[in-house]
Structure formats: structure tokens, C-alpha cells
């Protein structure tokens, strides 16, 4: 799965800074199925940011995967709700919870790949 940590303000001006590297890593890793977006460091999110998140949801869905949003604060959750995105993406309180939820159940086949954007 692909894990991206997002920091700062996500809006029309910065959308490509998230979209492009995630898309690049996603296309490079053809065995990636799930995407985890850690929004802990996100201080601002508008509808353009929601569009970027939903774009990643569609990418995951196309490979039979899921998108999990981690550590969304109350404002971010409200935006996800207003935009309708909450019906599509999953929420988790921590990366560990998201990874546990997405990890393959069968022992021995747990191939997990982590890619990090915006390293802290």
C-alpha cells in the first residue's frame, strides 16, 4: 500500500504537490492497491483538496483497493462530510490502525509497500 503524509495547506495552489508525487509512486508500483493519506499535519483543506483525495480514492478503487484517511481533525471531517467524500473514503485514527485494517489476512502473503510523501 501507499502511505502519504500531508502537511500544510491543501488548496488549488498546492494540489499538484500532493497529486503528482502520489500519482508517480502509484503508477510506478503496479502492485499497490490501497492508499493511506495521513492528514495529521494538514492545516487547511478546501474543495480542491477534497477533489485530490477523491482522485486517489478512484485510483485505489480501480485496483480493487481502498482509501483510508488518517488523523483527520474535526474541520477536515466536516469538509469530507459536506462534499460527500465521507461516503467513499474510510477514516482511521492512526496509521497503525489503517495499516492493520488493510493488511492481508493470510499469513505469509503480507506484501506491504510503503511510500512516503512529504517526509516529516
Amino acid at each position: 500500500m501507499l502511505v502519504a503524509r500531508v502537511e500544510g495547506e491543501l488548496d488549488l495552489a498546492s494540489a499538484a504537490q500532493l497529486r503528482n508525487p502520489v500519482e508517480e509512486a502509484w503508477n510506478a508500483g503496479s502492485d499497490l492497491r490501497h492508499i493511506v493519506l495521513n492528514l495529521k499535519g494538514l492545516s487547511f483543506l478546501d474543495s480542491t483538496g477534497i477533489a485530490v483525495i477523491l482522485g486517489r480514492y478512484r485510483a485505489a478503487l480501480a485496483r480493487g483497493g481502498r482509501l483510508v484517511v488518517v488523523d483527520a481533525n474535526a474541520r477536515v471531517r466536516r469538509m469530507l462530510e459536506i462534499s460527500g467524500a465521507l461516503r467513499l473514503v474510510e477514516l482511521a485514527d492512526s496509521e497503525a490502525e489503517a495499516l492493520a485494517r488493510l493488511a492481508p489476512r493470510k499469513q505469509g502473503r503480507g506484501r506491504r509497500r510503503r511510500r512516503r510523501q512529504h517526509p516529516t
Binding site: D11, L12, F44, S47, T48, G55, M79, I82, S83
Partner: protein
């Protein structure tokens, strides 16, 4: 645009940036100015008894509307002006965002959630999101004559009466 003076908004009216408790800002409709525009409104709004959350609401609404100007108003690569103005009206904040762009043929349609004239990853929810975060929002527009959005936000503490603070 179209040979008209660049420095005059059409719909805004006069007095912005002249009357006390008001400002008028003009920036090119470029994404690089988006954070600046909402920060200016947030800084101005601090003179009213808004909560931190309400200021964030304002920033979001302004961001949605100015982003609309940046994406829709002007031909790609030719950003025209966006005016952002605000004033204090009876204890509330009135914010105006005007462009001199292509205008909106069907304002009601444009305000519907999920309607967008451009493709890609645009959701077409800018107006409806902005509307959620302010008390009033109205749109004045015509094809070829730019768009002006008026928003009003009242501090909740004010609505609760002076004794609430």
C-alpha cells in the same frame, strides 16, 4: 480585459478601502495569490469578535470563491484581476469577491453542488461549500461581464447578545 481599464471593478461599487472599517485588494487571478487573499480577509476579520473556528470558516469560503475566479474567470495563462473587499456592517463582516472574467451564464446551475464546466479533478462544489460556511451568499454575474460574489458572516457571539461574552 477587452480594452477596459484594468483597475476598475464593475459591480463592487465605491467606498471600499475608503470607508472606515473596510479594505479593497486587487490581485491577479493566480493560484499563487489564493492563500494571500484568504489570509488578508482573516486578518481583517480579527477586528470583529469572531472565534478561531469562524475565522477558519471565512478563510474557507473566501478560498472557494477566489479559486472559482482563478479556475473559471479568465482564459488559461491570462489571469485578469480579482478584487477582494470587505467591510464591517452592523457588527457583521461583508466580503466581496469580483472578477472581470467570462461571467456565468446560469448562476443557479453554477451554485448546484456537482456542476462544473471544467473537467479534470474539479468537483463543482465550490459555491455550495462556501455557502455552508457563511450566513449569506449571493452571486451577481452575466456572460462577458464578470462575476461578483457577496458573502456575509456574523460573529455567533454577537448573535447571542453582549452578555454572552
Amino acid at each position: 480585459m477587452n480594452g477596459q481599464p484594468w483597475d476598475m471593478p464593475r459591480r463592487l461599487g465605491t467606498g471600499w478601502g475608503e470607508a472606515p472599517d473596510s479594505f479593497l485588494l486587487r490581485v491577479p487571478a493566480d493560484a499563487a495569490n489564493l492563500a494571500f487573499a484568504r489570509a488578508v480577509v482573516a486578518a481583517f476579520a480579527a477586528r470583529l469578535p469572531f472565534t478561531v473556528e469562524e475565522i477558519e470558516d471565512l478563510k474557507l469560503a473566501v478560498s472557494e470563491i477566489v479559486a472559482n475566479c482563478i479556475v473559471h474567470a479568465y482564459p488559461a495563462g491570462q489571469p485578469g484581476p480579482v478584487w477582494v473587499a470587505a467591510r464591517v456592517v452592523e457588527g457583521a463582516l461583508e466580503v466581496m469577491v469580483e472578477d472581470r472574467g467570462r461571467g456565468i451564464a446560469d448562476v443557479d446551475k453554477a451554485r448546484e453542488a456537482g456542476y462544473s464546466t471544467v473537467g479534470g479533478e474539479h468537483l463543482g462544489i465550490g459555491f455550495s461549500v462556501a455557502e455552508t460556511y457563511v450566513d449569506e451568499l449571493s452571486v451577481e454575474s452575466a456572460p462577458g461581464e464578470g462575476t461578483c460574489v457577496r458573502m456575509l458572516k456574523r460573529p455567533a457571539s454577537q448573535a447571542a447578545g453582549p452578555l454572552a461574552r
